[in-house]
Structure formats: structure tokens, C-alpha cells
Symmetry: C2
Subunit: 232 residues, 2 copies
Amino acid sequence: MDEAAFLDSYDPDRFERPSLAVDLILTSVVNGAPAVLLHRRRDHPFAGSWALPGGFVGIGESLDDAARRVLVDKAQMDGAYLEQLYTFGAVERDPRMRIVSTAYFALLPAERFMTAAALALAQIDRPEDGTATASIAGEPVPLAFDHAAMLDLAIRRLRGKLDWSPVAFALLPERFTLRALQDVHEAILGRPLNKPAFRRRLIDSGRIAATGERETGASFRPAELYRHVGQG
Amino acid sequence: MDEAAFLDSYDPDRFERPSLAVDLILTSVVNGAPAVLLHRRRDHPFAGSWALPGGFVGIGESLDDAARRVLVDKAQMDGAYLEQLYTFGAVERDPRMRIVSTAYFALLPAERFMTAAALALAQIDRPEDGTATASIAGEPVPLAFDHAAMLDLAIRRLRGKLDWSPVAFALLPERFTLRALQDVHEAILGRPLNKPAFRRRLIDSGRIAATGERETGASFRPAELYRHVGQG
């Protein structure tokens, strides 16, 4: 049998297969804290719980395309920095049926984040020694499925990548002050950083460049604006 | 139709779903070069090409369990350091049908690696600016599916993690010489390292400790044996 004949006779339905979904961790830093967009589930399972926006992967759709589609359809957003985070494949993670989910994070500057009106803004709370939880207006909200584990991994991944990848810059507008950059680092790391050491390190890294412009607005002494340059 | 109505009428079997597989990048450093275990495909598709060992994910099996099962069934190995690498979800990656594959790497010391008799040992070749390829006894071998991309990502991930994760130690026996540790680093990075600087950095890192023992064998001046300690 040649390959064409083999493919013609191949029966993909011989085995039961899991369903495949994507879930999005739409993250930004808002008011000095890591934040995520959630929607409240009206239906079973987990009715009343909050959940990450997600959807099933179509038969003719790549994983990345599915993530982009969910971003547009459920968050009415486009053009975020999207990155595959991890595939969650525990057998009992969804009570409906076997569903394996590939989690993506989508990083956005706070300003763009606020336009996702269909979803609610939650703060990500991550005690040093536990799993991440979320709260809305100070009230902890219960998360559906294994979405707390997804949030937790997203924060850990962001912490791990902060110093050598452009994730911090994906959370900021194109031009930003050093104070705003430090705020993002501190929010992700969950601890304060020494201001002179942070500024020296970032400027010495060659990853940012001064634009020669200054912020506009109410500031008494407007700070200089920087932009991200180079690979990292 | 609002979301509630949509979910009420939702039939999980209404949509065709992708199949889900795992593929293993069984990696070690052998004779100073990164190596991977491959099998030659006898059947279509890609008959005659070399491929990573893999298999479909069972309906009642977690992704991690599927990876462990493939490790035992196809490589006759157990107890490797297994880590999920990435989920490959391009639509046309398998000509049989839509198959999404979660790649895992399995890291092993060279000694244990040699016992996987069912598979062939291939060297991973990675030109600085291209995709990884594999060769057996110096001859390049064609890889099935997107397995060259999986190999390439595995090497890039190992490079990225070398300095802060225990991956290098997973590629070594429990007790190792500083020369062997440097060999592993050089093989993964694909470039030589300065010996005194490497030794100072590793010893200062607190990640290794001298055992007080020395290697046995033919060496004229047997080197001291170290072991991995701590989190990294």
C-alpha cells in the first residue's frame, strides 16, 4: 500500500479522543497589581464561578488561531502579545467530558485592557507559598475548573521571564517612564525593588532607550519617556 | 442567541475534534554532543523517515501519564526527568488527520540512555541560525512531521534553562566531575566555555557540592566528584 492509499483507508474514529480547548489569561498590571480578565459562568458546570475566557479548538484551526479567535470574540480585543503557556491535561479537569486545554497568556498595556468591556477586571493575588487566586473589588472570587492553577503558572512564568524577555514591555504603552516600568516589575514580582539599582540595571542593559520626550499631564516635574529597544 | 442559550443547546459531538498525541524528545549528551533517541518509521505516513517516539493520548489518561507510558512502551525506560515542552497545533502537521501533539522532553544521563535498545541514537545538529536536524553515524537523517521543529525548541529550551534549572544535572549521573558538567553545558550551548570561569561560577553558585570522593578508572590524576544540591 502506498502512502496515498494508506491515508485514504485511515480511520481517525477508531479511538475515542479528548476534546481540545484554549483558555486565555489576559493579563496586565493595573494600579500596581497584576490583573486578569474573567467572565462569570452562568451555566453548569461551575455556574456562578468566574472563569478565564476560552473556547474549543476547531478542526481546521491551529492552536494559535483558536487563541486569537477567543481574544477577538470573547474579549473584543486584537493584537495582544500572545504566548502559549502550558497544556493542562489532567483527566478530571472538566466535569462535562475529557477536555485538554492549552493556556495562552495575552499581555496588554492597562489602557487597552480597560476596553474589554465584556469581561470583568480581577486582581491576581498570589501568596508566596500558594496558588494564585483572584479578587474583584477586594472580594475573592471562586474560579472554575483548574483556572487558579493556570493563573498561578502564568504569574510564575512572567516572573521567570521578566529579566530576559520583552514581557514587561508588552504590559506597557510604547513610551513609558522608568517609574511605570518599575511598577510593572514590582507588581509581577510581588515585592519592592531598589529604585536606583533598578534604573541603573535597566539603562545599562541596553534594552531601553530615552526618547528625549517627557510625560504630559499633571506631574510637577514630568519624567522622561523611554521605549523598548533590541531583542530583550 | 445569547451565551446561555448557546450553552444549553451545546452538543459536544456536534463538532469534529482534533486528535491529541504526545511526542518525546529523549535527550542526553553523548560524546560531547546533544543526542536524541529516534525510531525509523516503517509505516505510512513518512515511511522510511526517522521520528520521535510518540503515541495518542487515551481518553482516560492525563497528558503526563501518556508521556510516561510512551517512555516505557517505546523506549523501555522509566524514571526520566520529564517536562512538558510545548504543544504543536498547526493544522497540516500530520497528513492523516488533524493531530495536535504535546511535546515532552525526557532527560537522562548518557549511561541510562544507552539501554534504550529499541531506539536509535542520533546526534542533534543545530546550526546557530537554523532549525535542528539529526544525524546517525554522521549521516543526516530525514525527520517525519514537524519533529525537526520539536528538536529545535527542545535545544533552545535547554539552553535557556541551563543556568537556573536542574536540567544539566538530569543529564549527568548522581556524582560527576566538573569536567563532565562543563561538557554537558558546552554540548547544549554549542560553544566552548572558559574552564576557570565556569568552575568558579558553578562552585560559587551553591548548586553543587564536593563529595570528597574521586572518580575511579584510568585517569592518571582522578578528578573530584561533585553532586547537585539545592533548588537549582
